[in-house]
Symmetry: C2
């Protein structure tokens, strides 16, 4: 079996573990109205790549930690990611109607409940971390790292610049700055949470940070390429929106071939950064190649 | 000087300390777009009662803690409160145009930025708790308590029921259930955060919880009464909306006089619950009377 074939099987197995945990976390005791629970689970449990949870779990493995110890963090990161998708899809933001192969949350449940479902997922992520990451000092560090990555200078800041039309001004600096905050920050936070759950050293955490920065940018270049060449049905979201509107993209700046070459060398740099971690980091290396080869 | 006069002076002094800390927490390093920073500060630093931060600080005092140790928690609770006001005021929710005496966040900055400003405040609350409450195990407990109170079974759940029109069905049970989640849960969380910052015992935390539950309901009855009798300019928000729409309220169910009596006996019960804490809880007792007498 090829290493990517083996990776595929491992990914499926871990996705199932993450999905089962996400399911359990969103049953909710009394007090949660049915329509809110339904909207949260509709968006959170829809089929997704679960790339960020995999980053958490494999960063934990790379630092010789126990995967089970990082599972709550993997769920927390997916909750933040899903909340950001729900809010970014709203009419006042990107106004999208298709996500993960189904109508967006506000199309299905209305804008008000979509806003609240996102809010609830954002809060739940911190409840999960603070209650299920052990010991408590690691939980507090995880909360701090995730809150910073989700906040005004990172995820929300990048989205605010996107909303203000910054993708239609400037050049490479602007493009990379928005993607670093909208995508890269959460990739890096996922890796840090996995590392913290494993009790990693500062040196190990720095290697994973370099891996995450390179991988985040590579992921975004591939995203832009898929928007040009990809298939909407396979992607589960609309394509071809960017070029038509004159939006700043990597293929728009460099052409398809040069963008592809840039993504490839970023993945090489990502893998180089974690080489000192040895064979425990093999899954993260395979994942970097998967990010490059992915079709959705 | 009357005890309420003395309380007024103390409240002003503590509000100034909270406001200075909120100001410092929202300067943000690079990465936060100017318009996002402006929207966050516009809503967060607008003149408010700062009732929830006062609950945090005085719960800390009641448990013989140092006020400075609870200041980050006081700020975190105000951030959650402000985020919930911003999102509740959105057109897809309550569609309000006046808050804290000024146009609502979305009226001033647009819906997209208002949604993001709320999101950023929600994340920031957990960043502040996890980084500035010490030691780390107390920070983790604070994050868990606040996240639960802000989540799908409490604050967001109450708002989802409100949005679904539950205030127009049922009777006292429904009315109290929504208010317990929309208001009471955050009052109780504020008190718990103050107690945790002080290293309080389980017994002390239970007394504060009983105080918070009674006070939260009293606060909401007074809110309903102010909606009938209050002055929009003094309140800084619109009045008379509820009765006109047939919305379930305490004066609607019991009349003005009986509602007033109920609020009074809830305040008596609140003060009774914390009596064993002795003179350190004097400020919380005065605050309960203030909640009853407030004009805005």
């Amino acid at each position: 079996m090829s290493s990517l074939g083996k990776l595929d099987r491992q990914m499926q197995e871990l996705r199932s573990r993450v999905d089962a945990a996400l399911d359990a976390y969103t049953n909710f005791a009394g007090g949660c109205p049915d329509h809110l629970r339904e909207a949260i689970r509709y968006s959170l449990l829809a089929p997704g790549k679960r790339l960020r949870p995999l980053l958490v779990l494999w960063a934990c493995e790379a630092c010789r930690g126990d995967l089970a110890a990082a599972l709550p963090a993997a769920c927390a990161v997916e909750m933040i990611h899903t909340y950001s998708l729900i809010h970014d899809d709203l009419p006042a933001m990107d106004d999208d109607n298709l996500r993960r192969g189904q109508p967006t949350c506000h199309k299905q449940f209305g804008e008000g409940i979509a806003i609240l479902a996102g809010d609830a997922l954002l809060a739940l992520a911190f409840e999960v971390l603070s209650e299920d990451i052990e010991p408590a000092d690691r939980a507090a560090v995880c909360c701090g790292v995730l809150a910073h990555a989700a906040g005004a200078t990172e995820l929300v800041g990048g989205q605010a610049d996107d909303l203000a039309g910054e993708f239609f001004c400037g050049g490479l600096d602007v493009l990379e700055s928005i993607h670093r905050r909208k995508t890269g920050a959460m990739f890096c936070a996922a890796l840090q949470l996995g590392a913290i759950s494993a009790g990693a050293s500062d040196g190990e955490r720095q290697m994973l940070d370099a891996y995450g920065k390179n991988l985040g940018l590579a992921f975004q270049i591939v995203d832009d390429l898929l928007d040009v060449n990809g298939d909407a049905a396979e992607l589960g979201k609309n394509t071809g929106k960017d070029a038509g509107r004159g939006k700043l993209t990597f293929p728009g700046l460099f052409g398809v071939d040069e963008s592809r070459r840039r993504a490839e060398s970023l993945v090489v740099a990502a893998c180089g950064a974690i080489q000192p971690l040895g064979p425990h980091a093999a899954s993260l290396e395979c994942l970097a190649r998967y990010v490059l080869e992915r079709k959705h």
